[in-house]
């Protein structure tokens, strides 16, 4: 991984006991390459490397007896800081909290909706899940079947449009015993104005405590466009990264965090409903560095 590569470059300079400008430059080049290979967005990489350059001019590096290890430590620390703080949970409001899961087609929203509900059920909450996806064939069935298998109540309101379903569902849920309501929405492109406006309309109606953008962890350079596309319309408060059980480096995590400042709260580690875990910035940093 990057650690070995940096050890390799900087290790060669052991005899010197200090680093030159050129050595720092070589190390930064290697870091830039590693981050690009890890799918961190090109512009985010540039900014990150510029920050590193500042820190690498300091005496901690220039006078260090183990400059290679120092550089790696700085990279890891900066990356971890950027990725946000540990153990951030969902923001609950008093009484009944509603949440919306949004994102691109196939990112894992429906699966994650049930995962979140199951997780909260084990913590003593009474979650309800509702699908607003009137577009994808059998989408509503998918949520209902997955929820039933996990012992999670799923309400299927009557109606043919997402707004219609949301209105009916809110009215029904209001009188129910559920303290948490998750709304699963249809996948959409941030480029699709009509569908993005529909999402804004749903937000005004539902007034969610939090809108969670569900993103495939294998996403490449486009992660920044997706995050900005949703953030610019006020349609993301936090992220969940799915399919991290793949061996992907997951640079999209750094990209979306750097560009929106919103926290990554959970990660999906498989198709089963228990395969959802807390996001840990230090672990993600190690994964990105490879």
């Amino acid at each position: 991984g990057l650690s070995q590569r940096l050890q390799g470059i900087i290790g060669k300079l052991r005899g010197r006991g200090h680093l030159s400008e050129a050595d720092i430059k070589d190390a930064l080049k290697e870091i830039k390459l590693a981050l690009l290979e890890a799918d961190v967005n090109y512009k985010v990489v540039k900014d990150f490397v510029a920050t590193l350059q500042q820190r690498c001019q300091g005496s901690e590096i220039m006078n260090s007896l183990t400059p290679g290890q120092q550089v790696i430590k700085i990279v890891r620390d900066e990356l971890t800081n950027l990725l946000g703080k540990d153990a951030d949970t969902l923001s609950f409001s008093k009484g009944q909290s509603t949440f919306m899961l949004v994102g691109l087609q196939g990112s894992g929203k429906t699966t994650t909706t049930v995962k979140l509900a199951r997780m909260l059920k084990t913590k003593g909450k009474k979650p309800l899940v509702i699908s607003l996806d009137t577009y994808r064939p059998a989408a509503i069935d998918q949520l209902a079947i997955a929820a039933e298998a996990a012992g999670i109540p799923c309400y299927r309101p009557p109606g043919t449009t997402p707004v219609e379903l949301a209105k009916k569902a809110l009215a029904w849920a209001e009188d129910s015993e559920h303290d948490i309501v998750f709304f699963d929405t249809a996948g959409r492109m941030h480029l699709d104005d009509a569908l993005m406006e529909e999402l804004q309309k749903l937000k005004e109606l539902i007034k969610p405590a939090e809108i969670i953008l569900v993103l495939d962890a294998m996403t490449g350079q486009d992660a920044v466009n997706i995050a900005e596309g949703f953030a610019d319309r006020g349609l993301v408060d936090s992220f969940i990264l799915t399919k991290l059980d793949s061996d992907t480096r997951g640079g999209a995590a750094l990209s979306v965090r750097a560009v929106t400042g919103k926290p990554i709260k959970y990660i999906g580690l498989g198709e089963k409903t228990e395969e959802l875990e807390q996001f840990h910035p230090d672990r993600m940093a190690s994964q990105i560095l490879g």
Binding site: L191, I226, E271
Partner: protein
Amino acid sequence: VFESGARDYELLEELLLLADVGPAVAGEIISRVKEKKPKDIITALKDEVVQILSLESADKPVKIFVGINGSGKTTSLGKLCHRYVSEGKALFVIGTDTFRAAADMQLEEWCLRTGVPYYIGKPGSDPAAAIFDGLNSTAAKNVNIILCDTAGRLHSNKNLMEELNKILRVSNKVRPDQVEVLLVLDAAIGQNAMEQMDIFQQAVQPSGIILTKLDGTARGGVAIALAAKYHIPIKYIGVGEGLEDLLPFSPQDYVDSLFP
């Protein structure tokens, strides 16, 4: 004059990177173009990429759709049904995703929409048995084309990759020399697609790629790296969620959209 050239190359390499071509392949493409010392850098770059993407491959009657979870396999199969039906072909569909919730219902709806007969394995049943039964059914005889859906899976899951290999072996037994595998790839995917292809190549030797979700901002540039390394052609592209949103791949059109 050389000054502006260097800046051009830098900008073009940046464009390739932003399209997910990846640093190694982007660098290689730019060096090859530089060596030619072209007058028109952009055209030379486009030609270089078109060359990489211009690949032929087999067209077998039994097509198995494979790929990562959520990449667009089921939807692409449905769209391809629509295309073949409108070309007057006789089709049959086999569903082997017996794992995911409502996978059977989703595929069934596409078959009903496009008027194609089908055999879909029951939830919980063995996928290899489903393809065996489907291929041996009476309805599968006397058709031009058989499209087979499989469950999404990660290349990092050994058991699921072995399951896929078994599905292919069973298909080859029932229909020797008539089977090809299509890898369905999401255009937004990053460099992990290289690892994916490495594993999928070993397990089922895909002969073509369907690149989906090109109607977003993603450009699917990793497919260029895949073409360069594995010489696997992109056969179709997905540009939306509707029946008509599947187009035959044209290297020139694709390259023109990369460098507008």
